[in-house]
C-alpha cells in the first residue's frame, strides 16, 4: 500500500498577543512536531483528551489552518519526498528545493491548489447540530461541493444528491427539508453525504459520534465501515474514546499535549500499551463490566496548558516512572515492536 498522507514534523502554534502594541508574548503550541503516515485504505485513529491537539492536527492536515512549520505530502511519490529531504539536510536554500516544495508540500500550497486538494479530501465535523447551515435546505447543503467545484449541474446534480442521500441511508423525499427537522444521527449522515459528494479519497472525521447516542453511534460507525469498503476510502478518525478506536481502526496514534506518544496496532495498544499515558488512558476508560473497576491507576493532576508545556517529556509531571532525564530531554518515537512506536525513556 502506498502512503497517501505523509505528515512530517508538523507544528501549529497559535501566538498569544499581549501588551499595548499587541506583540506576540508566547504561543499555544497546539501541535508541536507530529509526524504521521496514513497509508491508502487505512483507518487511522487519533486518540487523546481535550487539549492534546488532535483536532488542530486534523484541521491543519487538511489546510483549514495554516501550519506554522512542517510538511504535508498528499499523494506525493517517494522519490520527490526523498529528494526534498536530501536537499533540506544539505542546508542550502536553493531554488530547486523551493520549486519541489511548492509543487508537493500541501503546507505551502496557494489557494487554487488547495482548492484542488479539497476535491480529494474532506472533513466531517464533530457537532452535527452546528455543522450544517440552518437556513439551507439539505439538498443544497449536500450539493454545495458539486456547485463549488463546478462538477455537475442541473438535473445531473439533483440525481447525484439523491444517490448520495440514499447511500447514507436517508430517503430522497426529504430533499427540501431543513437541518433542524432531522435528528442528530440523521444530520451527521447528511454531513457525511456532503463529504462524499466529490468522490474524495481521504476523509477526516473529527469525533463524529461524540454528540450522538450509543445506538445511533453504532449505526454511524457501521455506515462508515460500509462506505470505506465500498468506495475504497482512507480515514483519519479523531476520537477521545479509546473503545471506539480499538473497535474500528486499523492503526492508532495516541496524542498528548501536541505530540504523538505512542503508535501501533489496536490490539497491541490495548493489550500491551508501552507508554505510561496510554496505559492510564486505557485503565481510566469505563467499560460496562461490573467486575472491572476503573483507576487503581488514577492519573493525578490536570492536563497542563498547551501555552506552557512542561520541559522535556511533556508527560513527566504526572508520570509515575519519571526520572531526571524525563524533565530535561524530549523522547523521540522509537520502534519497540511490530509497527509499534513509543516516545518514552522508560516504556512499560
Amino acid at each position: 500500500m502506498n502512503i497517501l498522507m505523509d505528515i512530517r514534523k508538523l507544528k501549529k502554534h497559535f501566538p498569544i498577543v499581549g501588551g499595548i502594541l499587541r506583540r506576540p508574548v508566547g504561543a499555544v503550541k497546539a501541535v508541536d512536531g507530529v509526524s504521521l503516515t496514513i497509508k491508502q485504505g487505512q483507518w487511522l485513529g487519533l486518540v487523546g483528551e481535550s487539549g492534546c491537539g488532535k483536532t488542530t492536527l486534523a484541521k491543519t492536515a487538511v489546510r483549514l489552518l495554516k501550519p506554522t512549520s512542517g510538511h504535508i505530502y498528499f499523494d506525493v511519490p517517494d522519490e520527490a519526498k526523498a529528494e526534498i529531504e536530501e536537499l533540506e539536510s544539505l542546508g542550502r536554500n536553493n531554488s530547486k528545493l523551493n520549486f519541489l516544495l511548492k509543487e508537493n508540500d500541501l503546507a505551502i500550497f496557494p489557494g487554487n491548489r488547495v482548492r484542488l486538494f479539497r476535491r480529494r479530501a474532506q472533513l466531517v465535523h464533530q457537532d452535527p447540530f452546528t455543522s450544517l447551515n440552518p437556513r439551507m435546505k439539505i439538498k443544497n447543503i449536500v450539493a454545495e461541493p458539486l456547485t463549488v467545484h463546478r462538477v455537475l449541474s442541473g438535473q445531473a446534480r439533483e440525481t447525484a444528491v439523491e444517490e448520495l442521500l440514499s447511500t447514507v441511508g436517508l430517503s430522497a423525499g426529504q430533499l427540501n427539508r431543513y437541518p433542524h427537522q432531522f435528528s442528530g444521527g440523521q444530520r451527521q449522515r447528511i454531513a457525511i453525504a456532503r463529504a462524499l459528494a466529490t468522490k474524495p479519497e481521504f476523509i477526516t472525521f473529527d469525533e463524529p459520534t461524540s454528540a450522538l447516542d450509543v445506538s445511533v453511534q453504532a449505526q454511524i460507525l457501521n455506515l462508515l465501515k460500509e462506505l470505506k469498503s465500498e468506495f475504497g476510502l482512507t480515514y483519519l478518525y479523531i476520537t477521545h474514546e479509546l473503545l471506539i478506536a480499538e473497535s474500528v481502526c486499523d492503526y492508532i496514534a495516541v496524542m498528548y499535549l501536541g505530540k504523538v506518544v505512542e503508535m501501533g496496532k489496536p490490539e497491541e495498544i490495548f493489550h500491551s500499551p508501552r507508554h505510561p499515558y496510554s496505559s492510564s488512558l486505557i485503565a481510566a476508560t469505563p467499560v460496562p463490566d461490573p467486575k472491572r473497576r476503573v483507576g487503581r491507576i488514577v492519573l493525578p493532576g490536570e492536563v497542563p496548558s498547551p501555552a506552557n508545556p512542561p520541559p522535556g517529556c511533556t508527560f513527566h509531571p504526572r508520570c509515575s516512572r519519571a526520572s531526571q532525564e524525563c524533565s530535561e530531554l524530549e523522547p523521540a518515537l522509537e520502534l519497540v515492536g511490530d509497527d509499534h512506536y513509543v516516545a518514552c525513556f522508560h516504556p512499560l
Binding site: 484541521k59 487538511v62 483549514l64 488547495v114 482548492r115 479539497r118 476535491r119 474532506q122 472533513l123 465535523h125 464533530q126 457537532d127 452546528t130 455543522s131 450544517l132 447551515n133 440552518p134 437556513r135 439551507m136 454545495e144 461541493p145 463549488v148 467545484h149 427540501n176 431543513y178 433542524h180 454531513a191 456532503r194
Partner: protein, 295 residues
C-alpha cells in the same frame, strides 16, 4: 413550508404585531391611491406641492371643502397628509435602503476579514459616530441647501455607521460557526461563503433594526422639516405641515385649541406611521428570535 406557516401563525397570535401590520398596510394603501383619495386640482403642475386656497396666514377650520382644514398660507391639510404619506415612504425606504446596502457591504468586509480592513472601517464609523446625529444632519442639510434630497443624503450619512457595526458584530459571531468552516473545507470561495452562509444567518437583527429605523428616519426628516431645513415651502411633507402650524399651536386667548387640527393631524400621521413600523419591527424580532432559539 412549515416554517413560513409557523411565522405567520406567530404573527397572527400577537395582537400588537397584527396592529403594526394593519397600520402599515393602511398607509401603503393611502400612498398608492393618493391621486384618487386627494385628487390634484386641474392645472396644478406638481402634485407634490400642496394646492393653496388663498394666501391668508390664519388657518381655517375644517369644512366640507377642506376636510381637515387648512394651515397657515391656506394649504389644504388633507391633501398634504395624504400625499405626505408618499413622501414619508420615499424618504424612509430610500434612506434605509441605501444605509442598509452600504452598512452591509462595509460591515461584512470588516467582520469577515478582520485585520487591517476591520480597523480602517471601524475608525471610519468612529469618525461619523463622533458627531451628534441630528446636529450633523442639520449641518449637512444647511450646507447642501434645504431640500428633501439633502435631508435624505444627510440622514443616510448619519445612519450608516450603526448598521455597519451591527452587522459586523453579528458576523463576528457567525464566522466562528462550524458550518462556515465546513464550507471553507469544501473549497468555497470567500465571496460564496459570505453571500451564501454568513449573511443569511447574520442579517436578521439588522433587518429588525432597519424596520424599526424607517419610523425613526421619517421622524428625523420631519424634525428637520419642522426646523425649516427640509422640503421646500408648500411641499407635501408631514414635517412641513407641522412647521406651518408652529405659530398656531396655541390659539387666541379664550379658545386655545381653536387651531388644533393644524398641528395635531400631521402629528397623528407621523405618530401612527412610526408606531406601525415599530410594532412591525418588534414583531419581526419576536418571530425571528424564538425561532432561532427553538432550533
Amino acid at each position: 413550508m412549515s416554517d413560513w406557516k409557523f411565522m405567520v401563525r406567530q404573527l397572527a397570535k400577537n395582537p400588537l404585531s397584527m396592529a403594526g401590520i394593519i397600520i402599515i398596510f393602511i398607509f401603503v394603501i393611502i400612498a398608492i391611491f393618493a391621486p384618487l383619495i386627494a385628487p390634484t386640482p386641474e392645472g396644478h403642475r406638481d402634485p407634490y406641492m400642496i394646492p393653496r386656497d388663498g394666501y391668508s396666514a390664519t388657518p381655517t377650520l375644517p369644512s366640507e371643502e377642506h376636510i381637515f382644514g387648512t394651515t397657515e398660507g391656506q394649504y389644504d391639510i388633507f391633501y398634504g397628509v395624504i400625499w405626505g404619506t408618499r413622501s414619508a415612504f420615499h424618504v424612509g425606504l430610500v434612506v434605509i435602503g441605501i444605509v442598509l446596502s452600504v452598512g452591509l457591504v462595509l460591515g461584512s468586509l470588516a467582520g469577515y476579514f478582520g485585520g487591517v480592513i476591520d480597523e480602517i472601517i471601524m475608525r471610519l464609523t468612529d469618525i461619523f459616530l463622533a458627531f451628534p446625529a441630528l446636529i450633523l444632519a442639520m449641518a449637512i442639510v444647511a450646507a447642501l441647501g434645504p431640500s428633501l434630497r439633502s435631508v435624505m443624503i444627510a440622514l443616510t450619512v448619519v445612519s450608516w455607521p450603526s448598521y455597519a457595526r451591527l452587522i459586523r458584530g453579528d458576523i463576528l459571531q457567525v464566522r466562528e460557526e462550524d458550518y462556515i468552516e465546513a464550507s471553507r473545507g469544501i473549497g468555497a470561495s470567500n465571496f460564496r461563503v459570505i453571500m451564501r452562509h454568513v449573511l443569511p444567518n447574520a442579517i436578521y437583527p439588522t433587518l429588525v433594526m432597519a424596520s424599526l429605523d424607517i419610523g425613526a428616519v421619517v421622524l428625523a426628516a420631519a424634525a428637520l422639516s419642522f426646523l425649516g431645513l427640509g422640503a421646500p415651502e408648500g411641499y407635501a411633507d408631514w414635517g412641513q405641515l407641522t412647521s406651518f402650524a408652529r405659530n398656531w399651536i396655541v390659539g387666541p386667548t379664550g379658545d386655545p385649541l381653536k387651531y388644533w387640527f393644524a398641528v395635531t393631524i400631521p402629528g397623528l400621521f407621523i405618530l401612527f406611521f412610526v408606531l406601525g413600523w415599530n410594532l412591525l419591527g418588534d414583531a419581526f424580532r419576536d418571530i425571528l428570535d424564538p425561532r432561532l432559539a427553538r432550533r
